[in-house]
C-alpha cells in the first residue's frame, strides 16, 4: 500500500466532521440526518483505524527507512511563510505516531459506536458527533503533525473540543463552568508549550521534527552528548533544559499533573463517552505523547527528566489518595486517570518513554472500559452517579459487571492482565532510575499501586456487591414490546432492568479482551520474543545513553519484582473486599456524618487544598488586582485620562489649526513653497557637509 494513503488517517475524520457540521443545512429530515450521522461519524473513524492498521502492518514489515514524511504542502511553497519562518504541512509516519493513531482511532472508534447507543435519545445527537469527529481529527493532527506548530494546532484543537464536549449540556451552568475551568487551566499549560515552541524556533531555527534534509529538531538532537541547531552550532544544555521544562509545563496542563490537575475531575460534567474518550483514553495522554516525541531533547537534560519523574510520582500518589474518598463513580475514575498519568510521567522521567507509551495504550483500554462500564451503570441508573445510591448491581447488570471486573483488575495490576505488565515495566524502570533515587520512586509507585487496587475494588464493592440502595424506579426499565425510544423511566415498576443496547455492549467486550490480553501481547513474554511494542517504538524514542545517562542496576530480579507487585495489588484488592464485605448494608466504611467530620477525608476531598489555594490566589487575589489595580489605577486614571486628554488636546490644536485653512489657494501655495525651500536648503546643507 502506498504510504500516501496514510494521509486518509488524518482527513477521514475531518470529512466526517464536515458532514456532521453541515448536514443540517441540506438534510431537512431529522430522522434521516440522525441515521446518516449514525453511519458516517463512527464509520470514518473506524475506516481511519483500518487504514492506520494496514499502514502499521506494512510499515512494520518493511525494512526500509522507518520514519516517513508525507508532505501536505510542498517544501518550496510552505504552509506558513513569514519572513524566514517556514512551516510545512507534513505528516510524520513513524512508530510513535502510528501507535497513537491506532489507539486514537481504535479506542475512539469503539467509543463512537458506544455513543450511538448512549446518546441515542439526545436532542443534539449530530452536534455531539460533530464535536467527536473534530476531536478525533485534532488528536490525529497532534500525533501525526511533523512539526511543533501542527502539534500545537492539534493540541489547541483538542482543547477546544474538550471545552465544547465538557459543556455539551451547556444549559446546566455547572457544566459550562466546568468547561471554562478546563479551558482556562489548559491555557496556563499552553502558554508554557508555546513559549517552548518559540524557544525552539529561536535556538534551533526550525520547528519540524523531521525534514527531508535531516535538519529537523529531533534529527539535530540525535547526537551523543550534544544538540545542534540548523546552522551547525551547539545548543547549550541549559537552553535544552529550559525548552524541556517549558514543554513539560504544556504537558502538565494537558495531562492534568500537579499543579494543574484541578480541571480533570470537574471535566466529568460532560457525557460519559466524552470522559472515556477525552479524559481517559486520548487527550490527556497528549502530554505523554509530546514528551515521548521530544525524548530526543529530554534525554539531553537530566534536570528536566528528574522534574518530570518526581512530578509524575507526586501526582500519582496524591491523586490516588484523593480517589480514596470520592463518592461520585466518575470522579473516582477521574482521579485514577490522573494517578495513572502520573505513572506515565514517572516512566518518561526515568527515561523509559516506550513503557510510558505502553502504559498509555493499556490505560486507554482499561480506562475506556471502566468509563464505558460506568457509563452503562449510569445509563441504567438514569443518570445517577453517586455510588452511595448504588449497590447490588451485579445481579441487574451482569455483563457490565463482567467487563468492569476485568478492567478493575487490570488497572489494579492483577497478575497477567494488561495493567500488570505495563505498570510493572514502569516500576522496574523507576527502580533503576539514572539519578540514583530509584528506591524512592519504586516505593512511591508501589504504595500508589496498593492504593489503586484498594480504591478500584472499593468502587466495585460500592457499586456491584453491597446491598441495593435504590428503588426500581430509579432504574432504566424496559417495557416489552416498546422500542428503546419510548423514553426514560416510563411505565415504572413493571419492566426489568435493561442492561444496555448492543451498540453499547459490544465495544465493551472488545475493550475487555484488549484490557486483559494486550499487556501480554506487547509485554516481555509476548509473541515474537517479547517486548513487541518496545522494539516497534525504538526508532521514535531516544535511548538514555544519547544524553550520557545510564540506568542503575536492578533493585531485584524481574521475577521478584513481579511477585512483589502482584502481592501489593492483591493486598489492595483483598483489603477493600474485606473492609466493604463487613459493611454490606451501608456500603461505606465510615458513616456519612463521620466521614464529613474526619479532617483527613475532608482534606482529601478538597484535593489537598488545591482548589482552595487557587481560589484564594487567582480568583480572590486576581479579582482584587483587577478591581483595585487595573480598573482604577490603569483603566480609569491612566487610559481613560489619556484618552480624554488626547481628545481635548486634539480639539485645542485643531481649533488653532483651523485658522490656517483660509481657502485661498495662494496661501496654500506659500506653505508649499516653505516646504520646498526648506527641502532645498536641507539638501544643500547636506551636500555641503560632504
Amino acid at each position: 500500500m502506498n504510504l500516501q494513503f496514510a494521509q486518509l488517517i488524518l482527513w477521514l475524520p475531518l470529512l466526517g466532521f464536515l458532514f456532521c457540521s453541515t448536514s443540517g443545512l441540506y438534510i431537512k429530515d431529522r430522522a434521516l440526518q440522525k441515521r446518516l450521522t449514525t453511519i458516517i461519524a463512527p464509520g470514518v473513524v473506524l475506516a481511519s483505524f483500518v487504514i492506520a492498521l494496514l499502514v502499521t502492518l506494512q510499515f512494520g514489515s518493511t525494512p526500509r527507512e522507518i520514519i516517513a514524511l508525507i508532505p501536505g504542502t510542498s517544501i518550496y511553497d510552505p504552509w506558513i511563510r513569514f519572513g524566514g519562518f517556514r512551516v510545512n504541512f507534513n505528516e510524520v509516519i513513524d512508530p510513535l505516531s502510528l501507535v497513537m493513531s491506532l489507539v486514537v482511532t481504535g479506542v475512539g472508534g469503539l467509543i463512537h459506536v458506544y455513543s450511538v447507543g448512549y446518546m441515542k435519545d439526545d436532542r443534539d445527537y449530530t452536534r455531539f458527533f460533530t464535536y467527536f469527529n473534530l476531536f478525533i481529527f485534532m488528536m490525529l493532527l497532534l500525533v501525526l503533525g511533523d512539526n511543533f506548530l501542527l502539534m500545537f494546532v492539534g493540541w489547541e484543537g483538542v482543547g477546544v473540543c474538550s471545552y465544547l464536549l465538557i459543556s455539551f449540556w451547556f444549559t446546566d451552568e455547572a457544566n459550562a463552568r466546568a468547561g471554562n475551568k478546563a479551558f482556562i487551566v489548559n491555557r496556563v499549560g499552553d502558554l508554557g508549550f508555546s513559549l517552548g515552541i518559540m524557544s525552539i524556533w529561536s535556538y534551533f531555527g526550525t520547528v519540524s521534527f523531521y525534514t527531508p534534509q535531516h535538519r529537523g529538531v529531533l534529527e539535530l538532537a540525535n547526537h551523543v552528548g550534544r544538540v545542534l541547531d540548523v546552522t551547525g552550532g551547539v545548543v547549550p544544555t541549559a537552553v535544552i533544559t529550559m525548552i524541556c521544562l517549558l514543554l513539560f509545563v504544556g504537558a502538565v496542563g494537558k495531562s492534568a499533573q500537579i499543579p494543574l490537575f484541578v480541571w480533570l475531575p470537574d471535566a466529568m460534567a460532560g457525557p460519559t463517552p466524552v470522559s472515556a474518550l477525552i479524559h481517559a483514553a486520548t487527550m490527556v495522554t497528549a502530554g505523554v505523547v509530546m514528551l515521548s516525541r521530544c525524548s530526543f531533547l529530554f534525554v539531553h537534560s537530566a534536570v528536566a527528566l528528574h522534574v518530570v519523574a518526581w512530578v509524575g510520582l507526586a501526582t500519582a500518589f496524591m491523586a490516588a489518595t484523593m480517589a480514596l474518598v470520592q463518592t461520585d463513580i466518575k470522579k473516582v475514575l477521574a482521579y485514577s486517570t490522573i494517578s495513572q498519568l502520573g505513572y506515565m510521567f514517572m516512566a518518561c522521567g526515568v527515561g523509559d518513554f516506550s513503557d510510558g507509551i505502553f502504559h498509555v495504550v493499556t490505560h486507554a483500554f482499561f480506562k475506556a472500559l471502566l468509563f464505558l462500564g460506568a457509563g452503562a451503570v449510569i445509563h441504567s441508573m438514569l443518570g445517577e452517579q453517586d455510588m452511595r445510591k448504588m449497590g447490588g448491581l451485579k445481579k441487574k447488570l451482569p455483563a457490565t459487571w463482567a467487563v468492569m471486573i476485568i478492567a478493575t483488575y487490570s488497572i489494579a495490576g492483577f497478575p497477567l492482565l494488561s495493567g500488570f505488565w505495563s505498570k510493572d515495566a514502569i516500576l522496574d524502570s523507576a527502580s533503576r532510575s539514572f539519578a540514583g533515587d530509584g528506591t524512592l520512586l519504586y516505593a512511591g509507585g508501589l504504595i500508589t499501586a496498593f492504593l489503586t487496587a484498594f480504591y478500584m475494588n472499593r468502587l466495585m464493592w460500592k457499586t456491584f456487591y453491597t446491598q441495593e440502595r435504590f428503588t426500581d424506579g430509579q432504574l432504566h426499565t424496559h417495557h416489552h414490546g416498546d422500542s428503546d425510544d419510548s423514553g426514560h423511566g416510563e411505565d415504572q415498576g413493571n419492566g426489568h432492568v435493561h442492561p444496555s443496547p448492543g451498540t453499547m455492549m459490544w465495544p465493551l467486550y472488545i475493550l475487555a479482551i484488549l484490557a486483559a490480553g494486550f499487556g501480554w501481547f506487547a509485554g516481555p513474554y509476548g509473541p515474537s520474543g517479547g517486548n513487541l511494542l518496545d522494539k516497534f517504538l525504538a526508532p521514535s524514542i531516544a535511548p538514555l545513553s544519547l544524553g550520557g545517562l545510564h540506568p542503575q542496576a536492578d533493585l531485584m530480579s524481574p521475577v521478584a519484582g513481579y511477585l512483589l507487585s502482584s502481592l501489593i495489588a492483591i493486598a489492595g484488592l483483598v483489603l477493600a473486599a474485606v473492609m466493604y464485605g463487613r459493611r454490606m448494608e451501608s456500603g461505606a466504611i465510615l458513616e456519612p456524618a463521620a466521614a464529613d467530620a474526619s479532617p483527613l477525608v475532608q482534606f482529601l476531598r478538597n484535593n489537598w487544598g488545591f482548589d482552595a489555594l487557587y481560589n484564594l490566589i487567582f480568583i480572590k487575589g486576581g479579582g482584587l488586582l483587577a478591581e483595585r489595580g487595573l480598573m482604577r489605577g490603569v483603566e480609569t486614571d491612566t487610559i481613560n485620562a489619556a484618552g480624554d486628554g488626547i481628545a481635548k488636546s486634539v480639539g485645542g490644536i485643531s481649533h488653532l489649526l483651523r485658522r490656517i485653512q483660509t481657502g485661498y489657494v495662494r496661501n496654500y501655495a506659500l506653505v508649499m513653497l516653505v516646504g520646498a525651500v526648506t527641502l532645498v536648503v536641507g539638501m544643500l546643507v547636506g551636500v555641503m557637509q560632504h
Partner: protein
C-alpha cells in the same frame, strides 16, 4: 566672446520680460512679456544647438499656448483686478522673502558646485540637437523614449477631450 555677449543680452531680455510679466497688472501685457521671454529662451535653445527644441518652443509656446492665453483673456475680457488686495499683504512679503532665499540657494548650488562629469566638445554637441538626431533618439526602440512619447499622445487626446467637455455650454 560673441556667445557670451549674446548670452547677456538675451539674459537681460529674458529676465526683464519675466519681471514685466509678474509686475504687470494687465494680463495682456503679462502674456506678451511672457511671449518675449519664451522667444528669448528659444534663441537660447538654438545657441545651445537644440534647434528642434527651439523651433518647437516657438511653435508650441509662443504660437499656440500663449495665443490661447491671449484668446481666453480677451474672451473673458479680463482687465486688471478692480479691488486692491486687502488680504495677504503678509503673503506678498513672505513670498518675496521666500523667493529670495530660494534664489540664493539655487544660485549657490548652480554656481559654486562643480558639476560632475565632463563637457563634450561643441562639435559633438552640435550634432545632437538636429531634427534628425532628436527623431532618431525619440523613435529608437532600444531607448526608453518611444513608449512615453506614444503615451504623451494619449495625454494630449485626453486633454483635448477634457477641455471640450468642460467648456461646453450644454452638458
Amino acid at each position: 566672446m560673441p556667445a557670451l555677449i549674446l548670452f547677456w543680452i538675451l539674459a537681460i531680455v529674458c529676465i526683464g520680460a519675466a519681471l514685466t510679466m509678474v509686475t504687470a497688472a494687465n494680463p495682456v501685457r503679462s502674456a506678451l512679456s511672457l511671449v518675449v521671454c519664451f522667444l528669448a529662451l528659444a534663441v537660447y535653445y538654438v545657441t545651445l544647438s537644440a534647434q528642434f527644441i527651439g523651433a518647437v518652443q516657438v511653435v508650441v509656446y509662443a504660437g499656440a499656448v500663449m495665443v490661447l492665453f491671449l484668446f481666453v483673456i480677451m474672451l473673458l475680457n479680463l482687465g486688471a483686478p478692480v479691488t486692491s488686495s486687502t488680504k495677504g499683504s503678509n503673503q506678498n512679503t513672505a513670498a518675496v522673502a521666500l523667493g529670495a532665499i530660494l534664489l540664493l540657494v539655487l544660485f549657490i548650488s548652480g554656481i559654486f558646485f562643480e558639476i560632475p562629469g565632463k563637457a563634450v566638445s561643441p562639435a559633438t554637441a552640435q550634432a545632437q540637437g538636429t531634427v534628425k538626431a532628436v527623431g532618431l533618439t525619440l523613435y529608437n526602440p532600444h531607448l526608453p523614449w518611444l513608449f512615453p512619447f506614444e503615451a504623451t499622445s494619449l495625454l494630449l487626446l485626453v486633454a483635448v477631450v477634457g477641455a471640450i467637455v468642460m467648456t461646453r455650454r450644454q452638458v
